[in-house]
Amino acid sequence: MRISRIKPESFITWLIKFTGYSAIIFVFLIFYFLLSEGIPVFGEVPFKDFFQVRWYPIEAYFGLLPLLVGSLIVTIGALIIAVPLGLLTAIYIAEVASPRTKEILKPLVELLGGFPSVVLGFLGLLILSQYLREILALPTGLSALTGSLILAGIALPAIVSISEDALDTVPRSYRDASLALGATEWQTIWWVTLPAAKSGVLTAIMLGIGRAIGETMVVLMVTGNAPMMPQGLATFVNPTRTMTATIAAEMGEVANGSTHYHVLFFIGIVLFVIALIVNVSASTFVFRRKKRSERILS
C-alpha cells in the first residue's frame, strides 16, 4: 500500500528533474557547438582584422564593424520609436482607459506580439518601403529606417504588455495617497506610479532590445543588405546589414569548415554575448523589484 503510493511519486520527481536538467543541457550543447565552430577563427583570421570597415568574405575581408554598427543603428532606431510609443500606450491602457477599452486593447496588443515577424517584413517590403522611397525621395526604400520602423512594431507588444503589467501591479493605495495630497491624475502617474513601476518598465525595455537585436527575418527583408559603414545622418536612410541578417543570408552557401564559415559562427558568439548582457541586466532589475516588494510586505 505504501510502496504503490510512493512509486508514481518518485517517477514524477524523476520526470520533472529530467526535463529541468535537459533544458540546461540543451543550452550548454548549443553554447558548446557555437564555441567549437566559432573559436577556430582565431587561428585563421588575425583578431584586428575584425575591426576593419569592410565585409567582403569572398576576398577574405572580415571586418565586423559595418555589421555591428548596422545592428546597433537598426536596433537603436527601433527603440527610439518603440520605447516612447510603447510606454505611452502602456500608461494609457493601465491608467487612463476605461475597463472596457482595456479589455479590448490589451489582447489586441498581445495579438500583435504573436504575429509571425515574416508577415510584418512582407508588409515592410511591399508597402512601407514604397512609401518611404516616395516621401523621402530615396533611391531605394530598403534602408535602416525601414528596418527600424518594422522592428519597432515587433518590439512594441513586448514593451507595452510588460510595462502595462508593471504599472498594473503598483498598489491602488499609492495612487490614492498621491491623489489625497492634492495631486492631479497626471502628476500621480508621472511622480508616483511610473517611478514605482520603474524596474518593470526597464525590464520591458530590455526585453524589447533583446527582441529587436535578435530579429533576423525582417531585417533581412527590408534593410537592403548592404554592409556599409555609417556616413553621417544619411546612414539611417541608406541600406544596411545586420549581424543576424548576415548569418542568415550567407550560412546557406558557405563551404563547411572554411574560414568564412567559422567567422559566421563567431558572429553568432558576438550576438550571444550581446543577448546575454541584455538578459542579465534585465533579470537584475527584476530581481531588485522582488526584493523591494518583499520589503514592503514585511
Binding site: Y174, R175, L179, L181, A183
Partner: protein, 259 residues
Amino acid sequence: MTITNKIVTENLVLQYSDGTESLKDISMNIPVNSISVIFGPAGGGKSTYLRVLNRLNDLANVTTVSGKAHLYSESGDFIDILDPNLDVTALRRRVGMVFARPVVLPMSIRENLTYGLEIAGVRKRSLLHEAIERSLNQAALWEEVQDRLDDPAMELSGGQQQRLCIARSLALEPEVLLLDEPTSGLDPISTGKVEASLQELKKNYTIVLVPHSVQQAARAADYAAFFLQGKLIEYAPGNEMFTTPQVQQTADYIEGRFG
C-alpha cells in the same frame, strides 16, 4: 464669525455599480476642532463616507451620489463638496487623508513630506523645511528621523511610516484630517503615540477617525457615529455613546454581541 460645524452632510446616498458598501441617507454634522469617530462592523460604509468627503470616490465605480455635503471655512462660507465642477485637488489640500495601511511613496522621507507642497507650487526651500519640521513634530516623529531625512521612507518601521503619512497630510496644513483605521497595522506603543498626537492635533484641526476597535473609538471620541450596513444608526457625544447608547443595536455592538 465662528462656526460650530466644519462639515455638514444631509441625506447622503451613494451606490457602487457592483452593489457593495453604499451609503443610505446619511445626515450628520462634523463639529469643528474635535475628533468625530465613525465606528461599526465592516462593510458599513465608514470608508465610503470618508472618501466622499475628499472626493476620492471619483475614480471608483460609483453609480449615484445624491444629497448634500458642505465644507465650511472659518469665515462661515462653504463649498459644495459634491459639485461636479469643483477643483478636487484644492479640496484635497483642505481635506487630508491617512489610510489604513501606511502608504509611504517610494521616495525619501523628505520627498514624501514635500510632495504635496511641491505639487501645489511651493518651491521655496525655507518654506519647505519649515513645513517638514512642523509636520514631523505634530506627528511625533521629528526626534526619530531628523538626522535621516534623505533616507528612503520605506526603511522606517511600520509605526514610523504611519506617522510619516500623518505628517505628510499635515504638511499641507489641511483643515480636516480624515483617518481610516490609521493604527490597524501598528503595535500598541505606536498606536499610543498616534492617539496622543491626535489629541494634540484636534486643537487646530477637525478630525474624522474610523477607529480599528471599539476601545479606540471610546478613547478618542468627542463625537461618535455608529454605522451599520450603510445607515447611520446613532450619533452622539462620545461620553454618552459609550456609556448609555440609546439604540439596542449600538449597545449590542459596543458590548461585543455582534460584529
